[in-house]
Symmetry: C2
Subunit: 281 residues, 2 copies
Amino acid sequence: MTKASPRRKTDPLPPWQPRSKEGKPVDLSKFDPGAKPFSSGDKGRDKEKVEALALEIDVLQDMLYADRRFKVLVVLQGMDAAGKDGTIRGVFSRVSPLGTDTIGWKAPTPAERAHDFLWRIHQSVPGAGQLMIFNRSHYEDVLVPVVQGTLSAQQTQQRFRQINDFERLLAETGTVILKFMLHLSPDEQRQRLQERIDDPGKAWKFLPGDLEVRRHWSDYMAAYGALLGATSTELAPWTVVPADSKTHRNLMVATVVRDKLASLGLRYPPPDPAIKGVKVV
Amino acid sequence: MTKASPRRKTDPLPPWQPRSKEGKPVDLSKFDPGAKPFSSGDKGRDKEKVEALALEIDVLQDMLYADRRFKVLVVLQGMDAAGKDGTIRGVFSRVSPLGTDTIGWKAPTPAERAHDFLWRIHQSVPGAGQLMIFNRSHYEDVLVPVVQGTLSAQQTQQRFRQINDFERLLAETGTVILKFMLHLSPDEQRQRLQERIDDPGKAWKFLPGDLEVRRHWSDYMAAYGALLGATSTELAPWTVVPADSKTHRNLMVATVVRDKLASLGLRYPPPDPAIKGVKVV
């Protein structure tokens, strides 16, 4: 496990935001799921920081909603038990439901299957001033069928290009896109799945299919590496988030989201000049 | 007016299907709205032919619906009174409403305006086996704002690229796209608008804004020329349809639609082997 190190100005994010070089796959074995690059070294202080960031994000989201110049799309991907639900709870639970929404993408319905794979996604992208969180996403369509062998290499490359074209349209029309790959170790997954099985309050979350997916771990890591290499663009970057520590995972996602929102120069619209100096009687 | 000439194998469509050369605008003044390249020279015979084609299209659409390998999107664009409604009635009225749908695109709602201009369009593209007719379309978004001067040249080029990316996604996922520009002369429009004003049964169709648009005729022709040059691609070609003659307009659109559907090799799916030889008792 990498030693925890506090974040400094000289400790930049880029190593965790791989940028594709001509679509070359990213080697995920070089990313340590146990790393804590954003940690203060003290878990209690990290937790307080997450809480403070969640409150900051709430303020920024309120301005985003009023401002209406931007749309924000947050994509969460990761293996089972990587902590997608936990991240949403930890990072976005302080945000008002007004102007915020979460979608948990499941297997497509027959009507969705009758259309291209981005059809249902496009319907749910955020509108002006909205913050939308995708729990899983269109990236499932370049993971599951790739590992199952039902999508050829050529078809996969085509989907990568279609995704980049689609995300470029969104970005060019005002959407800020932040994509997070919650990077778990197989060991940590084993422990979390075992907990789910053993805990009556968590057993409902467990699906027998989860074990089947786990068996193809290295195939999934290869598919993730390929999609990270092909679709981590300037307009829609991926951040690989070490996810073995829940606190650090939330700290890192919250920091990236807060920093991005803070960089937008959000502002409340000026009041209508007509109401200036008006006396309410 | 160009002399009517019967269609022969050696009298090809391509002049009426301009293909963009590096996005160079098409000069619409070279297309005669009074031409009748598909006419037999006899109006009565042309009308019978339209009727026969409409029945053929009905049969083909039924196979399209059963086959489910393709989706068909027909886009109709043109100035006011160019005959978009009349084309739908004349070419597609024999088609079963099962698996066929028409959308008349109006000015976007506030919710639609809060998203990118292709968001509402994507929601209404045809699914497997469907035939969708767009009466106006996303191309209004590179016409009206261009003429009104609210979209810069650079933004217009960006939208052309976004449209091409979007239509490529649709084409690559099984959508056959046919786009028709109903090419009317200003003289013929004047007569038709006058008829609408004078006829109590048609006056409801007339909007004062129609005259305002008419005043910018040459600007609209320039905007149409630009979009034809930029977006008439191999996967989603435009056909310029001379539209001063209603019969010939229907004949030409029906021929292109029938020919395209007939080229797809549509077939009814084979029956389930399980029902082979089964005796219904």
